[in-house]
Symmetry: D2
Subunit: 482 residues, 4 copies
Amino acid sequence: MPLRTAQQYAQSLKDGRTVYYRGERVPDVTQHPVIQIAIEHASIDYQMAHDPAHRDLAVVRDGDTGEETSRYFTIPRSSEDLMARSRLIEAATRLGATLVVLIKEIGTDALFGLHLVAQQVDARQPSAYLDRVRRFHTYCRQHDLALAVAQTDVKGDRSLAPSEQDHPDYYVRVVERRADGIIVRGAKVHTSVSTNANELIVLPTRAMKAEDSAYAVAFATPLNIPGLSMIASPYGEGDRRPFEHPISSRHKMMETLTIFDDVFVPNDRVFLDGEWQAAGLLAHTFVQFHRFTAISYKLALVDALVGAGALLAELNGLEKVGHIREKMTRLIAYAETLRALVAQAAAQCDTSNALGIAVPNTLLTNIAKLHFASQYHQAVATVQEIAGGLLVTAPAAEDWEHADLGPLLRHYLGGRRGVAAEERMRAMHLVQDLTASDYGGYQEVLAIHAEGSIEAEKLAIFRGYDVAAAKRYARMLAGIAT
Amino acid sequence: MPLRTAQQYAQSLKDGRTVYYRGERVPDVTQHPVIQIAIEHASIDYQMAHDPAHRDLAVVRDGDTGEETSRYFTIPRSSEDLMARSRLIEAATRLGATLVVLIKEIGTDALFGLHLVAQQVDARQPSAYLDRVRRFHTYCRQHDLALAVAQTDVKGDRSLAPSEQDHPDYYVRVVERRADGIIVRGAKVHTSVSTNANELIVLPTRAMKAEDSAYAVAFATPLNIPGLSMIASPYGEGDRRPFEHPISSRHKMMETLTIFDDVFVPNDRVFLDGEWQAAGLLAHTFVQFHRFTAISYKLALVDALVGAGALLAELNGLEKVGHIREKMTRLIAYAETLRALVAQAAAQCDTSNALGIAVPNTLLTNIAKLHFASQYHQAVATVQEIAGGLLVTAPAAEDWEHADLGPLLRHYLGGRRGVAAEERMRAMHLVQDLTASDYGGYQEVLAIHAEGSIEAEKLAIFRGYDVAAAKRYARMLAGIAT
Amino acid sequence: MPLRTAQQYAQSLKDGRTVYYRGERVPDVTQHPVIQIAIEHASIDYQMAHDPAHRDLAVVRDGDTGEETSRYFTIPRSSEDLMARSRLIEAATRLGATLVVLIKEIGTDALFGLHLVAQQVDARQPSAYLDRVRRFHTYCRQHDLALAVAQTDVKGDRSLAPSEQDHPDYYVRVVERRADGIIVRGAKVHTSVSTNANELIVLPTRAMKAEDSAYAVAFATPLNIPGLSMIASPYGEGDRRPFEHPISSRHKMMETLTIFDDVFVPNDRVFLDGEWQAAGLLAHTFVQFHRFTAISYKLALVDALVGAGALLAELNGLEKVGHIREKMTRLIAYAETLRALVAQAAAQCDTSNALGIAVPNTLLTNIAKLHFASQYHQAVATVQEIAGGLLVTAPAAEDWEHADLGPLLRHYLGGRRGVAAEERMRAMHLVQDLTASDYGGYQEVLAIHAEGSIEAEKLAIFRGYDVAAAKRYARMLAGIAT
Amino acid sequence: MPLRTAQQYAQSLKDGRTVYYRGERVPDVTQHPVIQIAIEHASIDYQMAHDPAHRDLAVVRDGDTGEETSRYFTIPRSSEDLMARSRLIEAATRLGATLVVLIKEIGTDALFGLHLVAQQVDARQPSAYLDRVRRFHTYCRQHDLALAVAQTDVKGDRSLAPSEQDHPDYYVRVVERRADGIIVRGAKVHTSVSTNANELIVLPTRAMKAEDSAYAVAFATPLNIPGLSMIASPYGEGDRRPFEHPISSRHKMMETLTIFDDVFVPNDRVFLDGEWQAAGLLAHTFVQFHRFTAISYKLALVDALVGAGALLAELNGLEKVGHIREKMTRLIAYAETLRALVAQAAAQCDTSNALGIAVPNTLLTNIAKLHFASQYHQAVATVQEIAGGLLVTAPAAEDWEHADLGPLLRHYLGGRRGVAAEERMRAMHLVQDLTASDYGGYQEVLAIHAEGSIEAEKLAIFRGYDVAAAKRYARMLAGIAT
């Protein structure tokens, strides 16, 4: 039954998992007023697989068995595979109204990275990691599972290594090794979609030294395992009317602080255990794929900014005004440069590894991410500027339906001839929800911090570039013998 | 009784005014869950006058009568007066936790402008406008009133003049002239603090032509006058815990769509009535003062960004990191350049008008406003970048108080030694509330649109500069005879 | 004899052409102290064809005849053809030490455009333009000619059309039509490589109206035709030592004001004559190709900036310094984003025209050009900042060879251990020549104005984007029925 | 004879000084084709003192003796003194056609710094430095001397202290102490106006440690002292016609590598000798004043950019075009923000030192400098963009005077009606000389590196700001007990 329905997905979440929300244990996530929005949002993934309009993109069919599985689980072998994956992620996020769906994206990014690193660890010393990863990968694909990934540890003092901290629990670690598995303890922050995924993949967050080997651990676990608690962030909650918040009233992603209170992981779910030399590599390899996911899903967001700017310019009657066109041109260049960089990151992928997995071009992926992140707030400002002050001073949804006030609003809030006042107000609320709200703030912070910080991207760019070749050219130009 | 108490102020608002919120008439604004936050915020003004720490700045004493009045009502006559006003506005906004108080600032900006324009209109043809303005000014000062200003009309199609619109009500206009006064009709948007002010000053929003003379109208009216309705914007409402939203749980400004449904204004409250040549001048003169108010109150906001950045850098243990210092330096330069421009706009004021009123330097005021507005979003991004992703993924206030979860949070969310987890979380929530929330979005949009748009400021800069002198220097350099 | 040698090329320029330099007629351009540098530079093109290291890129072999011709003349049919052309242009410019060679690039850009437009004009009404263009194209390829293009008219008052000017000669026009050809009059500015090309292709510079039909003219002419005068710009001349000016002492491009004083053009060299509807199309189509050439040759320039920055950082001992790495990262992202955009402009080319010619993607080409142009000066500033003040205060070449001074310089101007003082000085001079000199100024101005201004690129971006699709997405998000 | 004439100044330079230019000893600097331009430029200072139009600004009259001296030598005691000094520097630079005159500015900056530091050193341990500084100051003022300052050492490996270098001569040091004075050895780079000043003040370039005490030396010496050699930089030399290079054909500043080959300095000219604790302080205190000089003289440069932009916009007929006005507005804001910061740096000066010397506000001076430096290249780009491509493709001066070509140029290069072609060409050449030439490159590099690098300014800003106060405000806002 590889392709689950949205309903099957939702049912699968009634599994006794431990989720806290505002200090209270959530008995059933599917009934929680906030989390159920996130579940509904995540269902987009399952709906696409059954929707003729998206089926070709969302589903792959095995040539031999005829079995259909979600494309997310397909290991990319070529630029074309990467582009298909990118287009699927973009399409899902468009349906998600600029919010990434993520329940298969991030997990498969982790699986691809695990394949590559497991192969290398196995090659260095006999171990069975690659085999375990492959079996787990097959299991997820076969059951069409929703996956979360926990990577960022709580970290304590950032200037200290895991083993140097005030207490040993600032990074997730192995506290006990048993014949059949390991016991892990610690906590991870920013765990996205964990409240509503089936499996959680846990990865190290940084490079380790020998003394940190207990912290060099990667594994997978069902989310209802004993000892695993999720404390959900209430960020962005609130009773939001669809008229006023067309995006955030319907779309939501949950994040948790995820605590491992001596959780048992059986051996076949352990993918790294003490091989500290591989911790940084695994963190890095996951991020290679995950930043490519990021720049793919951001396309829906930047397109929404361009579209919202263009729509408001039209409804405000400003389409021909010089400075508005200048602003639109900057937005277009911002969006399309990102799109070109995504395509080129796929086109120049690296398949030179032992498994022939197509890894998106590191340099271009990070340049794309930096391009997106470092200009995002300015793009937001531009759209807000085109829209106007009504963004934050508009009447309420109820006023439009009021017997006396409604007609007054329609009388007074008209704009250009032919534009209904209510239509313009809807567009205004879109910009407000997208850029000047809790949701807008969420997207701003994600732009900077999600999938690695801006500074991490800069470092990857600096390291990924062939500086030596550039210097050779400069020496040649300068007439310096080399 | 010039200096009212906060309580007297609140009581004065129980006056039968017509305010709608989410489609319902508000029987008593002081009891409304959202509006009362705005009233509490506005009370800062009255509290300062009675607070020894602020009294010298907030209150002026008449040398002859010994009467004490709020400094806001003092007509500035010198650079020093303007700087004192600026410091008062800044101090009030600091107490307002970065949100301007505004209930005297904007009204007196309007009064100063009305003085200057009334004098010019009177000089052109015999009329009594200046006298009326002076009496109204005295009345407001004597009763220590809270004032709102309605300027921006709903405008309809922005490319058309008032008299060319689809219907005649897109700009507020005189529909009838009677012996004892005028009847006005129309609607204004973005009317700040109107739900909780005593008097409303209405000004034209643009230059007019002869055919628009019915729209060339300025007046004042009590806010409980029959025919005047305010439809409040619910923007940013919501049940917010002080721990999570240290600013917006306690500070609030209301905006309304303000509808004049054949409101009667007696003659002595009419300050412009048909003199279409003066409409643009009045709009412009008000803005001269109001943008100076703006750059004064924004100082608290930019200081908060610098301070929040510095605090998070410290609590995250990043104070010595090179790129963090670079970011802090940019924030400091941003804030202190604004401060220097404010001081210089006061220092180079213009007192050459017939009334000897000190008008802040137009060129520098607008440059300051443009400086603030065009770099605001980048400053926000910088502070978000320093703070980290916990901005939008943190646990809830209730989790910290939970018997089991609280200790876990304190264990896992510690940071640099000596920094309590909860303290760091409070600082994180400050940044979240200030920059990545409904309130943050409100400040972003205000940065761009309040007190005139960025494009309006550019125009004022271009016009306020002595281009001819600059060209003369260029010709001299180029060896072109002049 | 398709592939000429550099010597054959130089000899071909001794043809009696009329070139003025500083008010004097140049009897033989190959002997002129300034122009001969430009000829030497242009020879790179001919040298590459005979150099085994570049032959595969520079030369194409006819499958049938075995005849070898310069790749520049090959009409692109696919993304691969465009990329090969791009790589050739980039390689030539690298050999040209960041200065484009241009003697085949620009002419073939014009020829490709002429093919496309001639086909369309012929299709609308029976004419023989396409046939003429093809014969001229074959002639140029067969004789391996160097080509210049004159497009920008002197323009007079830019706000007026050609036929509205103070005198009729501000745009090149047909003053007489004879049975065997036309007589043209007027002047063009910024004609690059004209002093040292064989043929000149003349194109209209803008869209025309019916009354401007005399100005809708395109043709080709040998550069030694009677009536054709070139007044060369002395910009950047001067006695430059290779040690101090490693680029500009050896590389040079000439620009002329090109005057047509009743020049006769035989019919078979006339490619547009009165078809005013096609004037704008031709201007635009040429530019499509030419901007792709531009972004290809700029790659050598941006690589030189990155390389120079990296080299100076190394020689100054600053490679590990945080802010230097930040600056290098920005430079790298600048260069590699341009490279990715070039590749995507080729990958997403348009071959849907009747002739199947591969036209580089308009949107991406212009975004690439804007990206390059709008950040160029900042990139220059960055490299200057890394290099240091010695850029403009260094001793002279002669000082290093002086018996007493030389040793002093080597003693005092040493830097990091292992770096010879002279080597560092050469690198410093490279940056100076590249960025802070007449040549540096030339590159700055070219960045902004060559191949169309920044504003022209913005317009092309705005027009090339599918705004309607973007708005549809925004409407969908806003819940507006469409 | 306090106020010298320009001729007296020039005569004073025939003193046998050792200057090398392109490997040759210059027998008489006043006759050297390049250096004499610099002398002519420097004469502006002496001419102003005798010019009624500038006398009041340039000269101060002693109330008691009636003696007139150059204002540069006046120790500032108040904001007004600093503003007068600033205006004088700006006025001189305007006459210098955007190039600072510097022959009194930099030397008095050093003298002010020496006063402050000498007082502190004397206070710590009995020494006579302040007295020596005062006598030298009086001597310079009495003889109206031209002064150069040598600060930047050649430095060797920048990551090493003076005493750690490969050889001991990378920083100027005392090699021998005699009863009557000291012997110094070493070399300084970037010594401006040294070829044509009378006295040279030598200052340390950085903070020192105890082991570097031999390098903690400051002194003054006549420039014709034996053992002192200046190797002049030929940067920007060349035969330039005033028509084509209206600035650089007439204005010039020389820089030298200045070598001290065991130069003797008598005791009364020694201002620091081994007090290593004061080396950094002296370097820093000089820079405090010198950066204020910098931001004062840059005003002429930024005004020239604004004026040139405005003039070209007019002559090109583009004054009303939207994007041109946008660009002009940005230029105006750039220039006037700098001017406001200069005024505030003076207004908020610090006179709290023991000598009551008015020190310009450090924070604002550095913010002003950073503002200027970090946006300079963009301002250049803007002016180049407004001007157009003719900047680098224009005909030569001789062409305009040619019997046949001249009329052709006037016919074809006309622009807007009423604008003479030649006038537009002069304006174009102004922009070219100012921004896109050797001189333009010189100004670009100076913007970044002169008077301290951009990074040095950032550091001064970070250190000069009251971060603690900013954090206190943030803690208060966040509800963190302090």
